[in-house]
């Protein structure tokens, strides 16, 4: 298949919109070939992951773009950085590392991006509408935008996201196109108690299972209850995008492209039907932990960033706190939610209970945890997946209540009814 570029694309490629737009368009054209796109399409927003410091190369890339006159041409938000700019003292890395991370964040702001510093940009007031073509990075934001909002993005990564934001263009391929959004695998929930489906902890576990079993295919989940919340879907998607490469899932009767199973499959047959029973969930639950129940050093919540609704579920549980003297109790969120916490007086309550509220970043992308080793407990499938590799700590997964009560005890507390 050959790629046809518009006159404007060609002009950018020829350098008429500056050196940065030329480099951005060159990378886009390579990626269009990788994805077999026949043309590029206009995007209406971008979300940028490249502002997270991974090393010198990302910094050099952003510097090269800015030197070339880079400026975003569509509304563009920024994902987490490596520094909590409101609480820079939380950063446990070297001063040199902190400066580089901060510099990278500044470079992306200087290109005209909005400094929301969150991995949950979809929980801000302005979010993409159904059917909108967008170029988003951050695996959990991608799966949420596609699945829950019905906007259309591929799995953009660092670099390509800013190339799309600068040029306002993206390869017309993959999930930008209706025919590629068809469900492929049917997951049927079998004999899962309705009681469990109402629990928040059900969703990251189900997501972890669905992501691992569907991998590159698009899963359709049948059997989610009416009234499933956005935070539950966010947890499901984030876990599925961690254990697999899920960029889009459909939930029958819940997500906008799945009013019915037929709609989700675009009137085709599922390639495979997978029945999910309690034993499968217990197995996925087990895989989310790398350590046995025992002493813990850290409780980390908020991946994706905690919403105000999630805080409202946490607040009644802080009666179990303060945290044990050996336990760091950390909640990651964004500034918008943080200022709402201040307004409601919840921040004071949380801080009195010993909670450390982190904004702009999170504990798996930034050295914030002080404990050099031991066990981190979380209610997030994404933290559970990435914490061992990124923090060096072992991990134990549990529900929100299990996390809070464990924080108080300094060792894992279990709600024995949950998974029975």
């Amino acid at each position: 298949m050959s790629l046809t570029l518009s006159a404007r694309d060609e002009a950018m490629l020829a350098g008429q919109a500056g050196e940065a737009a030329r480099m951005a368009m060159r990378i886009l054209v390579t990626m269009a070939r990788v994805t077999d796109a026949t043309h590029l399409l206009d995007i209406s927003s971008a979300h940028i992951d490249g502002c997270l410091y991974h090393g010198q190369s990302g910094l050099e890339f952003a510097e090269r773009l800015l030197e070339g006159g880079a400026r975003v041409s569509v509304p563009t938000t920024l994902n987490v950085g490596a520094i909590d700019l409101l609480h820079p003292e939380y950063f446990q890395g070297s001063e040199d590392q902190a400066q580089r991370a901060r510099r990278l964040m500044q470079l992306y702001e200087a290109m005209g991006c909005r400094a929301v510093w969150t991995c949950a940009p979809y929980q801000n007031a302005q979010r993409p509408s159904f059917g909108a073509q967008i170029a988003w990075a951050e695996s959990n934001a991608i799966v949420f935008a596609n699945s829950v909002l019905g906007a259309r993005t591929n799995r953009y990564g660092d670099f390509l996201d800013i190339c799309a934001a600068i040029t306002g263009r993206a390869p017309a391929a993959g999930l930008h196109l209706s025919e590629n959004r068809r469900g492929q695998l049917l997951f049927r929930l079998r004999d899962i108690p309705e009681r469990l489906k109402r629990e928040d902890v059900f969703y990251p576990v189900l997501g972890y299972l669905v992501g691992a079993r569907s991998f590159l295919k698009i899963p359709v989940i049948d059997g989610l209850p009416m009234g499933v919340t956005e935070d539950q879907l966010k947890a499901l998607g984030a876990a599925a995008a961690s254990s697999g490469a899920t960029a889009l899932f459909h939930a029958v009767g819940v997500t906008p492209e799945a009013e019915t199973a037929e709609a989700a499959f675009q009137n085709t047959q599922p390639e495979k039907i997978i029945d999910v029973a309690m034993d499968d969930l217990r197995d996925a639950l087990k895989k989310l932990s790398t350590a046995p129940d025992g002493d813990i050093r850290v409780v980390a919540l908020g991946s994706p960033h905690f919403s105000i609704e999630e805080f409202s579920r946490l607040m009644p549980l802080i009666k179990y706190l303060p945290a044990h003297k050996d336990v760091e109790f950390i909640v990651c969120t964004n500034r918008q939610v943080f200022s709402e916490l201040q307004k409601r007086g919840w921040l004071d309550d949380l801080e009195r209970a010993g909670a450390q509220i982190v904004v702009d970043t999170c504990v798996v992308v930034s050295p914030i945890v002080r404990a050099p080793s031991g066990v981190l407990m979380t209610n997030s499938g994404k933290f559970a997946h990435y914490a061992p590799g990124n923090t060096g700590l072992e991990v134990v997964f549990g529900s929100l209540e299990e996390c809070v009560r464990s924080a108080a005890l300094g060792r894992v507390w279990r709600d024995e009814i949950l998974w029975h």
Binding site: M23, R26, I27, T30, M31, V34, T35, D49, G50, L52, H54, G55, Q56, S57, G58, E60, F61, R64, A137, E138, S139, I142, N154, R155, Y156, G157, D158, F159, L160, D161, G174, F215, L216, A241, S242, G244, A245, K287, T290, V364, H385, Y386, P388, G389, N390
Partner: protein, 141 residues
């Protein structure tokens, strides 16, 4: 004794290295230390192996979109594989290699091969990839 076949080129370049066949896909973010080239994902069967200079072979990419950053950083730091061979195209890995070409003029070929060819590859075979995507596999040396 050699075996040659064609691949679909995602990012072109020539490269040569001993095969490292991953039995499960690896998410580079949280899975690879770009300073050392070591696989650090504790759940990964090949944890502890080093990808540097190897022909890294896995069915597909996986996980966070930050994988392209990790790959670029590994290329910059000189810890990257010599080539990446996949069974399914992965835009995020291809991107890391495409940006490296812009930034550092360093070629790390990323190619997609057929399932049948994939099934013949074994650890430590010598893999040569040419610019046009021809792959030559030899057991000896």
């Amino acid at each position: 004794m050699g075996n040659a076949f064609k691949s679909r080129v995602l990012v072109e370049g020539s490269g040569r290295g001993r095969a490292l066949v991953l039995t499960e896909p690896l998410s580079l973010w949280g899975g690879l230390d770009p300073q050392t080239g070591e696989i650090i994902d504790r759940r990964h069967p090949q944890r502890g192996k080093t990808v540097t200079g190897r022909a890294l072979i896995m069915t597909a990419g996986k996980g966070s979109s930050s994988a392209s950053s990790i790959l670029l950083e590994a290329i910059r730091a000189g810890t990257a594989p010599a080539a990446i061979l996949l069974m399914e195209a992965d835009a995020i890995l291809a991107l890391g290699a495409a940006v490296a070409r812009e930034m550092y003029a360093k070629a790390l070929p990323v190619v997609v091969i057929d399932a049948d060819d994939y099934a013949t590859l074994r650890d430590d075979q010598m893999i040569d990839i040419s610019e046009d995507g021809t792959i030559t596999v030899s057991d000896g040396e």
